[in-house]
C-alpha cells in the first residue's frame, strides 16, 4: 500500500512536467490584425512623446485599422504599419522587417535636403587630407593655430576623457574651439558626458528626464536630473570659448549635447535648429517577428523646455551651400573662427 504513494508521487511529478504548455499557453498568433493591434497598443502604452507630437493616436488607429485583414501580404501590412508610425514624425521610431525598415520620411528628407555640411569642402579646404584622428574626432588647428577645429561625426564613436584631453593639449595656442557636430545623428550618451567633463564642470545640472512608468499617456516617473562631472582640477578643463556647430542633421545624443551647452558659460550653439530626438529609444518584437523602436523617455533642458522637435541655435546661421560648392568655403566654420578670434580681441 505504501508503494502506491511513491507511485503517485512519480506520476504527479511527470504530470507537472508535461503541463508547461498549459502554464505558458500559446504565443499570440502572428496574423496581420494581431500584429497591427499589438504594435498600436505598444505605442499607445509606451511611447513617451504624444504630448509633444500632438498626435491623436486613437484617431490614427481608427483610420488605418480597416486596411488590415487576415491574409494580407507582408508588404501590405508593413506599409500600413509604417504609415501609422510615420504619423509621429520621430527619428527614433522605426519598424524593422527582414525586407525593409520604416523611418520618419519627412525627418530624413530634412537631414539630407537641409543638412548644413559639405564634406568635400570640409576635408579638402579645412581639415586637409592629413588631418589628425583621435577617438573618432578629426581635428586640426585653423587660423594659424588660433582655433582648434574638431569634427565629430557620430556620438557612436567612443571618445574617452584621456583622448579628448590629449586633443586639447595638442593645441596649446588655441584661443578657442570649434566643435563641429553637423550631421551627427547621435550615439552613446556617455560620450556626451565625456566631452563635457573637460569643459568647466562642477557638478552642475545638465538636463532632466523621466521615463514611462505606466500605460496611460501621462504615466511617467518623477523628473530625474543628470549632472555634469565634478571636476576639481581646473587646470585640466578647457575654459576658452567653444562654438558648437549644429544643423538639421543633428539628432538624438547630439541634441542632448546641444541642450547641455546651456549649463556652460563658455559654449555657444551656432548654425541651424537640430532635428531633436531627445527621447531615449527602446525596442521590442511583434508577434510576427518584426521589431519596432520607440522612445520611452522625455527630456527637458535647463530652461524647462522640451526640445524634442529640435534644439535652436544661440546664433542662427544657415549653411551657404552655394559658397561651399563654388568657392570651397564653409561659411559656418569661417563664422565660428571669426567669432572666437573677435572674442579674444574684445577681451
Amino acid at each position: 500500500m505504501k508503494s502506491i504513494h511513491y507511485i503517485l508521487l512519480i506520476f504527479a511529478t511527470l504530470a507537472m512536467a508535461s503541463c508547461e504548455k498549459a502554464l505558458m499557453g500559446d504565443d499570440l498568433p502572428a496574423t496581420a490584425p494581431n500584429t497591427f493591434d499589438y504594435l498600436w497598443q505598444r505605442f499607445d502604452q509606451q511611447y513617451s512623446l504624444f504630448e509633444v507630437k500632438e498626435v491623436d493616436w486613437q484617431a490614427v488607429y481608427d483610420s488605418l485599422r480597416p486596411r488590415v485583414y487576415s491574409g494580407m501580404t507582408a508588404d501590405s501590412l508593413f506599409s500600413v504599419c509604417a504609415t501609422m508610425l510615420n504619423t509621429l514624425n520621430d527619428g527614433h521610431v522605426n519598424l524593422y522587417a527582414g525586407f525593409d525598415v520604416s523611418r520618419a520620411d519627412s525627418l530624413y528628407y530634412r537631414f539630407y535636403a537641409e543638412g548644413g555640411i559639405d564634406v568635400n569642402t570640409l576635408v579638402l579646404n579645412y581639415l586637409g587630407v592629413n588631418y589628425h584622428s583621435t577617438g573618432g574626432m578629426a581635428h586640426k588647428g585653423l587660423c594659424e593655430g588660433k582655433v582648434l577645429y574638431i569634427y565629430y561625426g557620430s556620438f557612436s564613436n567612443t571618445v574617452s576623457v584621456p583622448l579628448f584631453r590629449r586633443i586639447i593639449r595638442s593645441y596649446p595656442e588655441a584661443q578657442g574651439m570649434v566643435l563641429d557636430l553637423r550631421g551627427n545623428g547621435g550615439g552613446t550618451l556617455s560620450n556626451v558626458i565625456n566631452i563635457l567633463s573637460l569643459m568647466p564642470s562642477h557638478g552642475q545640472r545638465l538636463y532632466s528626464s523621466q521615463i514611462k512608468s505606466g500605460p496611460d499617456h501621462d504615466d511617467f516617473t518623477p523628473w530625474v536630473d543628470t549632472y555634469a562631472s565634478d571636476v576639481t582640477d581646473d587646470t585640466t578643463v578647457f575654459t576658452r570659448p567653444v562654438v558648437v556647430l549644429i544643423d538639421k542633421g543633428c539628432f538624438s545624443a547630439t541634441s542632448v549635447f546641444a541642450i547641455c551647452t546651456q549649463a556652460y558659460d563658455n559654449m555657444v550653439l551656432m548654425g541651424d535648429t537640430t532635428s531633436g530626438g531627445l527621447g531615449l529609444p527602446s525596442m521590442g518584437y511583434l508577434p510576427n517577428g518584426w521589431r519596432y523602436r520607440l522612445p520611452v523617455t522625455r527630456t527637458r533642458a535647463l530652461d524647462g523646455k522640451n526640445y524634442e522637435n529640435g534644439v535652436p541655435p544661440d546664433i542662427l546661421l544657415p549653411f551657404d551651400r552655394q559658397a561651399a560648392q563654388t568657392l570651397g568655403r564653409d561659411n559656418m566654420i569661417d563664422s565660428a573662427c571669426n567669432y572666437i578670434i573677435k572674442l579674444k580681441i574684445k577681451n
Binding site: K2, S3, H5, Y6, L8, L9, I10, A12, T13, L14, M16, A17, C19, E20, L23, M24, D27, L28, A30, Y38, Q45, Q46, S48, G98, L189, S190, V192, I193, L206, S209, I211, K212, S213, G214, P215, D219, T221, V224, D225, T226, Y227, A228, S229, V256, L280, P281, S282, M283, G284, Y285, L286, P287, N288, G289, R291, R293, V296, T297
Partner: protein, 273 residues
C-alpha cells in the same frame, strides 16, 4: 496554478507511515552535477514570442546528512542559447540563471523501503536575458528571492537508490524591469552607483514556480554515488492587474538530463541510504 500547487502539496503531506528507521550515520557529501537541457522562455517586456534553446546545467552542493535531517548548501545554474525561427529570419538570444540557496529536510519515518523527506529551502535566483538586436532593451534582469517547500521520496533496490523530488516555490520577492522595460536609463551615465536598477519593480508574490526531479543513483562500495536524473522546472514572475506593479510576465521552463556524482567527504559510519 495555485490550486495545482496546493493539491500537490496536499498529496505530499498525506503520505503516511511515519515511524522510525534505524539509521545513525552522519555524512558530509560533496555533490557535483551537470547536464544538458532544453528550455523555453517568454518575456513580454520586449517580445510576445517564446524562445527555445539548449542549456547547460552545472551544480555543486555540500550536504550534511544526519540520521533524521539533511542540510544542503547549493549553487546551481542553467543557461544557454535560445532561438526562434521566423519565416526567413532567425532571432538569437541568450539567457540563464544562477541559483544559490540552502535547504533543510526532515526525514519522515515510514517503516517501509520508501524514505520520505520533507522540508524547505531559501534561495536566490538571478535571471539574465540578452538579445543584442533589441538596442537599449537588449538586457533584462530578474531576481527571485524564494521560499520553497520541498519533498523527496527515496526507494532503495539493491545498490540503486531511486528518488523523486518536488520543489514548490511558495513565496518570492521578485524584482523585474519596470514598465518601459529598459533596466535603467540615461541617468546612469552620470551616477551609475545610484541609478542601476532604479527602474525595477520589487513585489512579493506566491507560487512562482515548481520543479521536479526523477532519478536513479548507484551507491558504490565506498559510499560514493553516481546517478542520472531528469529535472523539469517552471518559473513565472506573474503579471499585475494594474499593468504597473509587475508589468511584464516572464515565464520559463527547463528540461534537463543530469549526471550526478556524490562524494563522501566525511562519515561517522558508512550508510548507503
Amino acid at each position: 496554478m495555485r490550486r495545482l500547487f496546493l493539491l500537490t502539496l496536499f498529496c505530499l503531506l498525506m503520505l503516511p507511515s511515519l515511524y522510525a528507521q534505524p539509521d545513525s550515520a552522519t555524512h558530509i557529501f560533496l555533490h557535483l552535477q551537470g547536464g544538458v537541457g532544453y528550455g523555453l522562455y517568454r518575456d513580454l517586456g520586449a517580445s510576445p514570442l517564446t524562445y527555445q534553446g539548449l542549456q547547460l546545467h552545472p551544480e555543486v552542493s555540500l550536504c550534511l546528512q544526519k540520521p533524521d535531517w539533511r542540510y544542503e548548501a547549493y549553487l546551481s545554474a542553467s543557461g544557454g542559447a535560445y532561438g526562434l525561427k521566423l519565416g526567413t529570419g532567425y532571432i538569437q538570444a541568450y539567457g540563464g540563471h544562477p541559483v544559490v540557496g540552502f535547504r533543510v529536510w526532515r526525514k519522515l519515518e515510514t517503516g517501509s523501503p520508501i524514505r520520505l523527506w520533507l522540508g524547505g529551502s531559501v534561495d536566490d535566483l538571478f535571471d539574465i536575458r540578452y538579445n543584442s538586436s533589441l538596442g537599449n532593451a537588449n538586457m533584462a534582469f530578474g531576481n527571485f528571492a524564494r521560499l520553497n517547500l520541498e519533498g523527496c521520496a527515496e526507494y532503495r533496490l539493491c545498490s540503486w537508490l531511486f528518488h523523486a523530488k518536488l520543489q514548490l516555490n511558495a513565496l518570492a520577492l521578485v524584482m523585474r524591469p519596470g514598465f518601459s522595460y529598459m533596466d535603467n536609463f540615461d541617468q546612469e551615465i552620470s551616477n551609475p552607483s545610484v541609478n542601476v536598477f532604479d527602474q525595477y519593480h520589487t513585489y512579493l508574490t506566491p507560487a512562482t514556480g515548481v520543479s521536479t526531479d526523477l532519478g536513479a543513483t548507484l551507491v558504490l562500495g565506498n559510499g560514493n554515488r553516481i546517478g542520472l536524473s531528469y529535472r523539469w522546472g517552471y518559473l513565472t514572475s506573474h503579471s499585475s492587474v494594474d499593468g504597473v506593479t509587475a508589468p511584464h510576465l516572464f515565464q520559463c521552463a527547463d528540461h534537463a538530463l543530469l549526471v550526478h556524482l556524490g562524494f563522501i567527504l566525511k562519515a561517522t559510519s558508512i550508510n548507503y541510504m
